[in-house]
């Protein structure tokens, strides 16, 4: 690690320090309550994972350079400069053991938005060369191939063919003037292609026009997870260009939490201008269709089901009621976990944790929190709306010898769609 890369990292980090950051650092009294909100702490009891402590080097930089006392201390040689060794040590704390879930930010009595700062700290970490290998790989693939998992257009087209064969429905590519531009996550294309078919069937029933862009179909944004705003902006720009070229009204973020945050909340700020189109999560769109009476379902599930809230949808995204409205349409025995909605517990794999091999062990430890929640609830099945949460939960359940089906909400709704011909026949 060179001195230049450290300086570059610190410069980037300096640019991140703003009024909220200064107010946050000025207010912490080390009460330790954030620890109780963090599943990486509660499931390990390792004090290194106390959320505020994960920010210590950044806090020192702020103190040393943006406060009078800190500057004085620095002048008198009383403060410790930030070193490569220290940042290297912090890699584990900033990336492996933080999923940017935002729960600490919601419970801090002093009001610190710790997640907001971890997101910023990662910018400095990445620029100084301290991002984990796994995330570097994912980001490189996202830039070069358009997908963090290396999923190509060909793979997507192959899935589209399967959908056609299964349902008889065409997956529309590059349709100008469509109402919706549907984005996907690589995880969905590879592991949960049912999502694509579900979307096709729902829009077919609702008689809505939609399209996928062959130039920008990936919704996830590794640039945000690793903390490189330039790359994050480039990835957002691809979607913006596609949406503008195809003149769509709404861009739909798929069943993925971070993809939603990336395009919905960070997107315009990354490219430096507001969008000329709406961005909605698929659940928000489905809830709109429900309100308009365009989502016609039949049959109700009797199984005892619960919903796992993806953090970026609820706490960091504000999509709280939509999934509940939708589940109640098709599930009679829907029950909530004790901490749900904006207070949900993370699955343990968000914020780039799943793409980071170094975090493989801790992410399964963190899953124990979800395990406890599910054991207490005694449900027959779990519904969620994020492919990344879903794969983590499936893996966690398997690891813990728990047998429980996990399903995406869009897919569940699609499986209850009223039969098209029967409906039309009934109407005449």
């Amino acid at each position: 690690m060179s001195k230049t890369s450290l300086e570059r990292g610190l410069n980037i980090l300096r640019e991140q320090i703003d009024s909220p950051t200064a107010a946050f650092f000025s207010s912490c009294v080390h009460c330790g309550l954030c620890a109780q909100a963090c599943l990486f702490y509660t499931e390990t009891c390792n004090p290194a994972y106390i959320p505020i402590r994960k920010l210590e080097p950044m806090r020192r930089l702020w103190e040393q350079e943006y406060t009078l006392t800190g500057k004085l201390k620095k002048l008198l040689g009383l403060s410790r400069p930030i070193t490569h060794e220290e940042l290297e040590q912090w890699q584990e704390l900033v990336y492996n053991s933080c999923s940017l879930c935002g729960r600490c930010s919601l419970v801090c009595p002093a009001g610190l938005d710790l997640t907001y700062m971890i997101r910023k700290f990662r910018e400095g970490m990445a620029a100084s060369g301290h991002a984990p290998e796994g995330l570097i790989g994912a980001t490189t693939r996202a830039v070069e191939l358009g997908s963090p998992m290396g999923v190509t257009l060909k793979a997507l087209e192959a899935q589209a063919k399967h959908v056609k064969a299964d349902s008889g429905l065409d997956i529309p590519f590059d349709v100008e003037g469509a109402e919706y531009l549907v984005l996907l996550s690589s995880m969905e294309i590879i592991n949960y292609p049912e999502y694509l078919q579900a979307v096709a069937r729902i829009f077919h029933q609702a008689k809505k026009t939609w399209t996928i862009s062959s130039e920008a179909f990936e919704a996830t944004n590794s640039g945000i997870q690793i903390g490189v705003s330039d790359i994050a902006a480039e990835l957002v720009q691809r979607v913006v260009d596609a949406a503008e070229k195809l003149r769509v009204k709404t861009v739909i973020s798929p069943e993925c939490g971070h993809a939603y945050t990336a395009i919905r909340w960070e997107g315009p700020n990354l490219i430096g201008r507001p969008f000329g189109f709406r961005v909605r999560h698929i659940l928000e769109v489905l809830d709109e269709l429900r309100e308009q009476g365009l989502l016609q379902v039949e049959g109700v599930e009797d199984a005892r089901m619960t919903f796992h809230d993806p953090c970026q949808l609820v706490r960091r995204g504000g999509v709280i009621e939509a999934p509940r409205n939708l589940i109640r349409m098709v599930a009679r025995n829907f029950v909530e976990m004790k901490d749900h909605g904006k207070m949900n517990w993370c699955c343990g794999a968000g914020g780039g944790v799943s793409a980071n091999e170094d975090a493989a062990e801790i992410r399964l430890k963190a899953f124990k929190r979800k395990k406890k929640q599910l054991e207490r609830l005694q449900v027959d099945g779990l519904v969620t709306a994020c492919a990344n949460c879903r794969i983590q939960i499936e893996e966690g359940l398997e690891e813990n010898d728990m047998d429980m089906p996990v399903i995406g909400l869009t897919e569940m709704l699609a499986s209850h769609l009223k039969d098209e011909e029967a409906r039309e026949g009934g109407a005449t």
């Binding site: 950051t21 207010s27 419970v107 201008r273």
Partner: protein, 220 residues
């Protein structure tokens, strides 16, 4: 300088100096925060965030709702006891109101001194308990640094000396009163440069937290 002369000085010039340092120091601290600025949010907002921000400024002082994490009961009870006790002692003891009135012209009814005395004891006991907890808890011990203990000491001393002066404990009253006022001055002087700033900055922090979440449609 005998103790009477010293008392006169701490009551007069001493207090003036301390107050000016406190005010000027806090002004600097607030400027340090606000001058950094903040980028405008360009995303399509769900709400303005103002109402949510204001609500968070207050709600984080209130006990958490039933659905919120199980806060460690100790931190919760001792934290409230200490802060409420301190607030009552500072703002509802007759001599304190008189000092505030002489400085600002503002006055309000005091609580009976024995009542304030009870709150002093509550605060002192809660502070000792919190200190013990900080030292004994693995989590807090790991997290704590000199700044935490400095802030504790600066707050504890005025409470202790005030309590001793009121009860004429062990030392002559004049000396104790001078020591009490001096400890307050020390608190005021160091206030802007220690963690004690949280008294004011938490409201700014909560505002940003609540406002940014509110723009996304979340009441934080």
């Amino acid at each position: 300088m005998n103790s009477a002369e010293f008392l006169l000085w701490v009551r007069g010039s001493g207090l003036q100096i301390a107050l000016w340092i406190f005010l000027f120091g806090m002004l600097i601290r607030l400027l340090e925060i606000f001058l950094l600025g903040r980028k405008k949010n360009l995303a399509e907002l769900r709400a303005s965030g103002t109402a949510a921000g204001l609500r968070t400024m207050i709600s984080r002082s209130l006990p958490p709702g039933g659905n919120i994490i199980h806060r460690p009961r100790f931190t919760f009870v001792a934290g409230y006891a200490f802060h409420i006790g301190l607030f009552v002692v500072i703002f509802f003891l007759t001599p304190h109101i008189q000092v505030i009135e002489s400085l600002t012209g503002l006055a309000w009814p005091a609580l009976p001194t024995p009542v304030v005395d009870i709150f002093t004891v509550i605060s002192l006991v809660a502070m000792l308990a919190l200190l013990w907890h900080r030292l004994a808890s693995r989590l807090l011990n790991f997290l704590s640094n000199g700044g935490d203990y400095l802030a504790w000491t600066l707050t504890f001393m005025p409470l202790l000396t005030g309590y001793m002066a009121y009860h004429h404990l062990w030392f002559p009253y004049t000396g104790l009163l001078a020591a009490h006022i001096l400890s307050v001055e020390l608190l005021l002087i160091l206030f802007p440069f220690t963690k004690l700033t949280h008294t004011f900055t938490i409201f700014i922090a909560r505002w940003y937290n609540g406002m940014m979440a509110g723009e996304k449609g979340v009441q934080s």
